[in-house]
């Protein structure tokens, strides 16, 4: 018997005067002891599905057709109170962003206890049960952890607690809403393994929501691909990943950088996934505007589900499937490195960056924290070097040291052979040769400046000063480099999409005509095709202008696509260095090995997640 059934469910939002279908005709069945993955990029509607199950849709959203059945009983027919009685007990959730998912001013123990009380477990048994459950999720020092507050635990530890709480009531259904998105790669592997173990132990039905198709392929039995509120493809994980039938699924898989195999140019789709505002203009297939095959029928008609294999269907027309195969991208040429240059563009020599914090009585004592320890390396002009590490490894600090936003506590930095400080001033700041592309465009773009003024900011003072009249042509040229249309110039950041903002961010850094840019996690959190666009854009800039790029990231596949050489960082130290292919093929440092093992492989047949310490 099925545990959860979505039967042609449509969720409609009432925004202003308009009614917009944010989920359309959604159907799938989840049986006992089954795992289904719901995969989609941000805005595809996957979190709406979780909210439909919990009944916690926002006020102006409602289910307008179809039904949601839990154990054969309609969830929608239940009253609020009856629905609420199921939550936490028979239907449990594992949330995203575990660090902020618990009340920061109450102890873990208090919150777990409250949950157990809600489950109806009497006081005498609660404490022992908490310890037992926490040990089951491999939380070390369980008794001590109960006394702690959420901010005293790591993201992974918090998530273990949340998993323990979710399974505490022996639920029949668990909805895991992007449970590992905010976690480091290695922690992600551990947590996914934990969830799989708990699911197997309790024989629970699991709905696993994620944006990572490869991850879903390894964990789930069946996978459903979401796009703009529609489920466009559904089938067994192996089938969907090896023989994707929908053009969107194919382009999604093609645009993901690979850790193995030859490096080819990633095909990037134009535009973005439509937002809610555009749904009204797309009555039929919402992917049609971006589809490789331009069949005029698709855009206007609601396409039915069409079977393409055993338990595998796709919402696409017959014609499309035939011509949807994507051509292979050309092989990537190696970067243009200027071997003739005498001095390296950047040279670090035993650089240390320490922070001091006041502690103790009246703040008299200080403690020291080393963000970067003893870093030594060289970067040549025209190279694309990757700095890889997890959060807290020191990679961002190195980036800031390179551009001059931080000064080393010890050691020397040379920019093109010259000491970074001359005549008491940091030379980066006067020469503008090195620029930083900040991670978060929200924070990096002044919301009060138009795109034009953002791109030409470098022309407002200093050596590259140009009067207002000359600025627009300059900006138009720059737009070509970053691949944005000219009508963007008079818009403001709040009127652009996430991918467009990131491109303006890059353009802003390029406006100063630097010789070297540091890109700090600029593609994390972006949709796959937008990410591909930006990576290709960086490659073009490197080829055409000889721009030296230092690319900071935690994503190994992305780094492999872009960078010829990489530095692996862990806890402030550079643990391994070398040509990308060499390091990935023969990692020497145990940390590098562990990191490589923790990434979900492209081939869904390969075993994953590994057992990590």
């Amino acid at each position: 018997m099925s545990v959860l059934t979505f039967d042609n469910v449509t969720v409609t939002a009432k925004i202003g005067q308009r009614r917009i279908d944010v989920l359309r005709d959604l159907s799938f069945t989840l049986g006992q002891n089954e795992i289904i993955g719901l995969v989609g990029e941000s805005g595809a509607g996957k979190s709406m599905i979780g909210r439909t199950v919990s009944g916690l849709l926002p006020d102006n959203f409602s289910v307008t057709s179809g039904d949601v059945l839990f154990n054969g009983q309609s969830l929608l027919a239940l009253s609020r109170t009856e629905r609420r009685a199921l939550l936490g007990r028979k239907i449990a959730f594992i949330p995203q962003e575990p660090l902020s998912a618990l009340n920061p001013v109450r102890t873990i123990g208090a919150q777990f206890d409250e949950h157990l009380r809600h489950l109806g477990i009497d006081r005498a048994r609660r404490h022992a049960l908490m310890i037992e459950r926490l040990e089951q999720v491999q939380l070390r020092n369980a008794a001590e952890a109960l006394q702690r507050y959420p901010h005293e635990l790591s993201g992974g530890q918090c998530q273990r607690v949340l998993i323990a709480m979710a399974f505490a009531g022996a639920p029949m259904l668990v909805v895991a809403d992007e449970p590992t998105t905010a976690l480091d790669v290695m922690t992600q592997a551990r947590i996914v393994r934990l969830i799989a173990e708990q699911q197997a132990a309790h024989q629970t039905a699991l709905l696993f929501i994620t944006h990572d198709l490869r991850l879903a392929g390894h964990v789930c039995g069946n996978v459903g691909v979401m796009y703009a509120g529609d489920m466009v493809e559904y089938g067994p994980a192996g089938a969907v990943l090896k023989e994707p039938s929908h053009p969107y699924t194919r382009s999604l898989l093609a645009a993901m950088p690979q850790l193995t195999g030859p490096r080819r140019v990633l095909p990037a789709l134009a535009d973005n996934m439509p937002g809610i505002g555009s749904f009204a203009t797309l009555p039929g297939c919402r992917f049609a505007p971006r589809c490789v095959v331009k069949d005029p029928v698709c855009a206007g008609t609601r396409l039915p589900q069409r079977p393409v294999g055993e338990g595998h269907w796709v919402r696409c027309s017959e014609q499309c499937a035939a011509g949807a195969a994507l051509a292979e991208g050309a092989l990537l040429p190696p970067p243009a490195i200027d071997m003739a240059a005498k001095e390296p563009a950047v040279a670090f020599d035993n650089v240390r960056l320490s922070y001091h914090a006041a502690r103790g009585f009246l703040g008299l004592k200080t403690s020291q924290f080393d963000a970067v320890k003893d870093a030594t390396f060289k970067i040549r002009e025209g190279e694309i070097v990757g700095i890889v590490g997890e959060s807290g490894s020191g990679k961002t600090s190195i980036g800031r040291l390179i551009v001059g936003l931080e000064q080393p506590s010890a050691g020397t930095i040379r920019i093109e052979g010259e000491d970074y400080v001359q005549d008491g001033r940091i030379i980066h700041l006067t020469r503008r040769d090195t620029q930083l592309i900040f991670q978060d465009p929200q924070s990096a773009l002044n919301p009060r400046r138009s795109v034009l003024r953002l791109l030409t900011q470098a022309l407002e003072t200093g050596d590259s000063y140009q009067p207002e009249s000359a600025r627009r042509p300059f900006a138009e040229n720059l737009l070509k480099d970053i691949g944005l249309p000219p009508d963007c110039l008079d818009r403001f950041p709040s009127q652009l999409s996430g991918g467009q903002r990131q491109r303006v961010n890059i353009g802003r850094a390029l406006g100063a005509k630097p010789r070297l840019v540091v890109a700090d996690e600029i593609v994390s959190g972006l949709d796959v095709s937008v990410q591909a666009h930006i990576l290709n854009c960086l490659l073009d800039l490197n080829r055409q202008h000889g721009l030296t790029i230092i690319f900071i990231s935690h994503d190994l596949a992305v780094v492999r696509y872009l960078c010829s050489r990489i530095l692996m960082m862990h806890s402030g130290e550079i643990v391994e260095e070398g040509a990308t292919e060499t390091v990935f093929a023969n990692p020497r440092h145990p940390y590098t090995k562990a990191l490589l093992d923790a990434v979900p492989p492209e081939n869904s047949d390969q075993p994953w997640p590994p057992v990590l310490q």
């Binding site: 941000s42 709406m48 973005n272 937002g275 809610i276 936003l405 009508d487 818009r491 950041p493 949709d527």
Partner: protein, 311 residues
């Protein structure tokens, strides 16, 4: 009047907006939504009315507020028994027209309110920008100074200053500025610190922009909405402080009408002539309400809207 519900289906891939003829800047957008807010409209009207009273007092008021008509002392309002049409709301213990005093009192209230708000804004904002942007020892000194200043209850400090300064509108303005700049400073400073930590400020530094340029071009526009809101609210506070000071007799010289003074005087005749207190009380309440509504309405439209749109 409550904030609009934001749609949680986070469309980070926001629709590619086909631009209208001219896409409006955030400032224009804010202005337009401000006009549509009922608080702003009502508050604005009240402020306008009070300003007109102050500016055109000689034309509006039926009598000279200083004129003591000793025959007609403690007259009730004109609709009550014994009232006189010449004095619409009656007279005080010295025979002066209450209504006219109220109208003229708006002058002092607005002069003080506006003058003090400008002064507090300039002083508080300047120091807040310095403290929030530079941080370090500059911030420590200024913050210490602010903490120090705020250790005395504002009323106590302003009274003390007035004893030292002596009466007069200019002195009242000075006293209020010296007391209230700290509130401006503290609030604006936290906002400046938030803005200064944003990456676009670091980006400007990387372009070699000097400090002055960054503060004026990048940071100040970011905190401008907050400053406008605080300014409006400060005017209301100034009106209240002036009323308190003139109640105690430490505000304006004896021949200048002020609302607080009217209340203090009428208090002695509370039993016989309670109407003497009603008018100045209503005047204070309505004026402060007007500025508060305006300030509240501006705060909602100027700030959170801008923040929400950036999501």
């Amino acid at each position: 009047m409550s904030d609009t519900v934001s749609t949680p289906v986070a469309a980070t891939a926001a629709p590619l907006v086909k631009p209208a003829a001219r896409t409006p800047s955030p400032v224009m957008e804010a202005f337009r939504s401000a006009i549509r807010s009922p608080k702003v409209v009502v508050g604005g009207i009240i402020v306008l009315v009070v300003t007109i009273c102050a500016l055109f007092a000689p034309q509006i008021a039926p009598n000279d507020p200083d004129n003591q008509d000793l025959i007609n002392m403690l007259l009730p309002p004109m609709w009550a028994e014994g009232g006189d049409a010449q004095y619409p709301f009656g007279t005080d213990s010295l025979g002066r027209c209450i209504f006219s005093q109220m109208i003229y009192g708006a002058r002092v209230a607005l002069e003080v309110g506006f003058g003090a708000a400008v002064g507090a804004m300039l002083l508080g904002t300047a120091l807040a920008l310095l403290a929030g942007y530079f941080g370090g020892w500059i911030d420590r000194i200024i913050s210490h100074f602010v903490d120090l200043w705020m250790s005395l209850p504002p009323v106590v400090l302003s009274l003390t200053l007035m004893v030292g300064f002596g009466t007069g509108v200019g002195n009242v303005i000075l006293a209020i500025v010296l007391v209230d700049w700290t509130r401006f400073c503290r609030v604006v400073r936290s906002d400046v610190m938030v803005v200064a930590r944003r990456d676009f400020v670091s980006a400007a530094k990387l372009l070699g922009f000097g400090h002055t340029r960054i503060i004026l071009r990048e940071i100040l526009p970011g905190v401008a909405p907050l400053i406008i809101t605080l300014f409006t609210l400060q005017i209301g506070i100034g009106v209240i402080v002036e009323a308190i000071l003139s109640f105690v007799g430490m505000s304006v010289p004896a021949d200048v009408p002020a609302w607080g003074k009217m209340i203090a005087g009428a208090r002695n005749y509370m039993y016989q002539a309670p109407w003497g207190m009603m008018l100045p009380i209503i005047a204070i309440f309505v004026t402060v309400l007007g500025f508060n509504l305006l300030g509240e309405g501006l705060r909602v439209t100027l700030d959170p809207r801008l923040r929400k749109r950036s999501v």
